[in-house]
C-alpha cells in the first residue's frame, strides 16, 4: 500500500492543509509520499520533507506548474499514480479543480470532501450540505480522494524524507494563466485559523462589515469570514465565504455576527469547537447550534464585547 499526497502550497510555503491530508493518508495505512508540484517551490518541498512519517517527497518544478493549473497538473499526476494505490488532495479550490481530472483519466470514481477514513477503501463524506453523512466503499483499483482538512489533525514535524526531483510537463496546454488578485491579509488564513469572526447580511454594507468585524478580529487574532448572503451583497470578497459551497472551517472559536444560520452556512462551520452567535432575531437558526447565543443588536453588542475583552486582558 502506498499513498501519494498532493501538497497544498503557494511555492513559497507549504500550507497546513498538507499536514492534515498526510494524517488522513496515514489512516489508510502504508507508505505516504508527498508531491510538491510548482515553480521555484524548493522551500515548500523542503517543508514537506520535514512532515513526520513521510517516506519521500517528489518535487516537480517548472513554469507550467507555477499556478497549478488543472491541465498540466493532470499531465504530471496521472502517470505518477502508477506506483500508488491512492492519491489524496486537499479539498481546497486547487484540489477540487485538479483531482476529478486525474480521476477521470484513471477511470476512477473520485470521493470528494472525505471527513472519515475507515480503511483503505471505505470513506465517510458529507452530502446535502452536511445534513447526511455517506459511507462508501470504493470498488476501483485505485482511490482518488479530496480530503476535508478540518476533519483531520495535522501530522507533526520531525521527518527527514528524501526529495526526488521529477520533470515538470512542458505542454503545450490549452489553458494559460492571465492574472490573479490574491488578497494579502495581515490576519490568519480562514481555513486554518484558530479563531474566526464572521459577518452576515445584517451588517448592511461593505463599510459596516469591515468597520464592525475588523477591530474584533484584530483583538482576537481571528480570520474574517462571511455568510453567502454577505458575499452576494458585495460586503465581503468571495474568498470569505463559509459554507456548503465556500470554505469549511473548524476553529476553536467561531463568532457569527448578524448571521441567521441557513443550513448552507452551518455546513461550513458547525464543527467549530465553540460557537458564539450575536443576532437581534432570537428565532435565528444559528442559535440552535451556538454554545453562547446573545440576542442583541451587533451595533451595541460588538463595541461592548471589545471593551469586555479589553477588560478581561485579551
Amino acid at each position: 500500500m502506498a499513498v501519494l499526497v498532493v501538497a497544498e502550497h503557494d511555492n513559497a510555503s507549504l500550507k497546513d492543509a498538507t499536514h492534515k491530508v498526510v494524517s488522513a493518508a496515514q489512516k489508510m495505512g502504508g507508505d505516504v509520499d508527498v508531491l510538491v508540484a510548482g515553480h521555484n517551490a524548493g522551500a515548500a518541498a523542503q517543508a514537506a520533507a520535514k512532515i513526520a512519517g513521510v517516506r519521500k517527497v517528489l518535487h516537480a518544478d517548472g513554469a507550467s506548474l507555477d499556478h497549478q493549473i488543472a491541465e498540466p497538473m493532470q499531465a504530471l499526476i496521472a502517470p505518477l499514480t502508477a506506483g500508488y494505490d491512492a492519491v489524496l488532495f486537499a479539498a481546497t479550490t486547487t484540489g477540487k479543480n485538479v483531482a476529478p481530472r486525474v480521476a477521470a483519466k484513471l477511470d476512477v470514481m473520485q470521493i470528494s470532501g472525505v471527513t472519515g477514513i475507515e480503511g483503505a477503501d471505505t470513506f465517510v463524506r458529507p452530502i446535502y450540505a452536511g445534513n447526511a453523512m455517506l459511507t462508501v466503499k470504493s470498488r476501483d483499483p485505485k482511490k482518488v480522494l479530496t480530503v476535508q482538512p478540518t476533519a483531520f489533525a495535522a501530522a507533526g514535524e520531525g521527518g527527514s524524507a528524501s526529495i526526488e526531483t521529477i520533470p515538470a510537463p512542458d505542454g503545450p496546454f490549452k489553458s494559460a494563466f492571465e492574472r490573479e488578485e490574491i488578497v494579502k491579509l495581515d490576519r490568519p488564513e480562514l481555513t486554518g485559523a484558530k479563531r474566526v469572526v464572521s459577518g452576515g447580511r445584517a451588517l448592511g454594507s461593505a463599510e459596516e462589515f469591515h468597520r464592525v468585524l475588523e477591530p474584533l478580529a484584530d483583538k482576537l487574532g481571528a480570520a474574517i469570514g462571511a455568510s453567502r448572503a454577505a458575499v452576494d451583497a458585495g460586503y465581503a470578497p468571495n474568498d470569505y465565504q463559509v459554507g456548503q459551497t465556500g470554505k469549511v472551517v473548524a476553529p476553536e472559536l467561531y463568532v457569527a455576527i448578524g448571521i441567521s444560520g441557513a443550513i448552507q452556512h452551518l455546513a461550513g462551520m458547525k464543527d467549530s469547537k465553540v460557537i458564539v452567535a450575536i443576532n437581534k432575531d432570537e428565532e435565528a437558526p444559528i442559535f440552535q447550534i451556538a454554545d453562547f447565543g446573545l440576542v442583541a443588536d451587533y451595533k451595541t453588542a460588538v463595541p461592548e464585547l471589545l471593551a469586555a475583552l479589553e477588560k478581561a486582558g485579551v
Binding site: 477540487k96 458529507p126 468571495n238 474568498d239 459551497t245 458547525k270 453562547f292
Partner: protein, 259 residues
C-alpha cells in the same frame, strides 16, 4: 457558437433532507425538486451570451456570441421538467438521457462526452457542484475525458475570438485564465443572478423539442463504482444555550478556554 448546458434535478435548495431510518439513503418522497442552483447560473450565463444583457450597464455580454443552447439532463422521466425550466429561461432545445438510478459523476461525464461528440459544442457550461451529493467533479471529469481545457468556479466569462477569458473564485481571491475553445466552464455563485422565466416564455418552452436518449445510446456502462455502506444523520451538536449580557459571554468564553 453552440453551448451545451447540463442541468440536474435535485432536492429544492430550501428543503432539508431526511435520512431514512434504515440508513440506506435519504428520503426524497413528496419533496419539491428543482434545478440545481449552480445549473440555473449556467443556463443564465449561456442565455446572456446569446441574448446580450441590455439591462446591465457596460456589460461584457454581447448578443449573438452564442447562437444555440442545448440543455441536457440525465435522470428520471421528471427531469424533463428541469429541461423545460432551462428552455423557459432561454435554451433552444433539450436532451433527456433517461436513467432511473442515481448516476455517479464519472458515468455522467462519460454520457456528456457522448453528447458533446454528437452535438459538437464549443463550450460546455456546468454548475460547479450539485447541492445533493456535493461532489464537484463532473465538469472537471468531462474536461479530462475530452482533453479540453477547463476553467472551474467561474465568476466572470468573456468570449472573444475563439477563446474564453474566465475569472475563477479561488481560495486566496480571484484568478483569471485564458482557455482555448472548445472548453469546459463551471459556475460559481457570483457569475450572475439567474432570471425567473416569464409566463409567455414558460408557454413557449412547452413547444421546444426534447430528444429522448439512454446511457446505452452513448455506449456508457453506468454501473456504480462506489457501494453505499450507509447514510447516517450527522452528529448532533449540543447548542442552544443563551447568555444575557456581554460580560456573561466573555466569562463563558474564558471558562471554555477559548480566549
Amino acid at each position: 457558437m453552440k453551448v451545451l448546458v447540463p442541468v440536474k434535478r435535485v432536492l429544492d435548495y430550501n428543503l432539508k433532507v431526511r435520512v431514512k431510518p434504515d440508513g440506506s439513503g435519504v428520503d426524497l418522497s413528496n419533496l419539491k425538486m428543482s434545478m440545481n442552483p449552480f445549473d440555473e447560473i449556467a443556463v443564465e450565463e449561456a442565455v446572456r451570451h446569446k441574448e446580450g444583457a441590455p439591462n446591465l450597464p457596460n456589460s461584457h455580454y454581447k448578443a449573438g456570441a452564442v447562437t444555440e443552447i442545448v440543455a441536457v439532463s440525465i435522470g428520471p422521466e421528471q427531469a424533463q421538467e428541469t429541461i423545460r425550466t432551462a428552455l423557459a429561461m432561454g435554451a433552444d432545445r433539450g436532451v433527456l438521457v433517461k436513467a432511473d438510478a442515481d448516476l455517479e459523476p464519472l458515468a455522467v461525464a462519460k454520457i456528456l462526452k457522448g453528447i458533446v461528440e454528437a452535438e459538437q459544442p464549443q463550450l460546455v457550461i456546468l454548475g460547479k457542484q450539485a447541492i445533493d451529493d456535493d461532489s464537484n467533479q463532473t465538469g472537471q471529469m468531462l474536461a479530462a475525458l475530452l482533453d479540453w481545457p477547463q476553467a472551474t468556479f467561474a465568476s466572470k466569462l468573456e468570449l472573444t475570438n475563439g477563446r474564453a477569458s474566465v475569472t475563477r473564485e479561488v481560495d486566496g481571491g480571484l484568478q483569471t485564465l485564458a482557455v482555448e475553445l472548445p472548453a469546459i466552464v463551471t459556475t460559481d455563485l457570483r457569475l450572475n443572478e439567474p432570471r425567473y422565466a416569464s409566463l409567455p416564455n414558460i408557454m413557449k418552452a412547452k413547444k421546444k423539442p426534447i430528444d429522448m436518449k439512454t446511457p446505452a445510446d452513448y455506449g456508457v456502462d453506468a454501473a456504480p463504482r462506489l457501494a453505499v455502506v450507509k447514510v447516517a444523520e450527522p452528529p448532533k451538536r449540543q447548542g442552544g444555550a443563551k447568555v444575557k449580557t456581554v460580560d456573561e459571554l466573555v466569562a463563558g468564553l474564558k471558562a471554555a478556554g477559548v480566549i
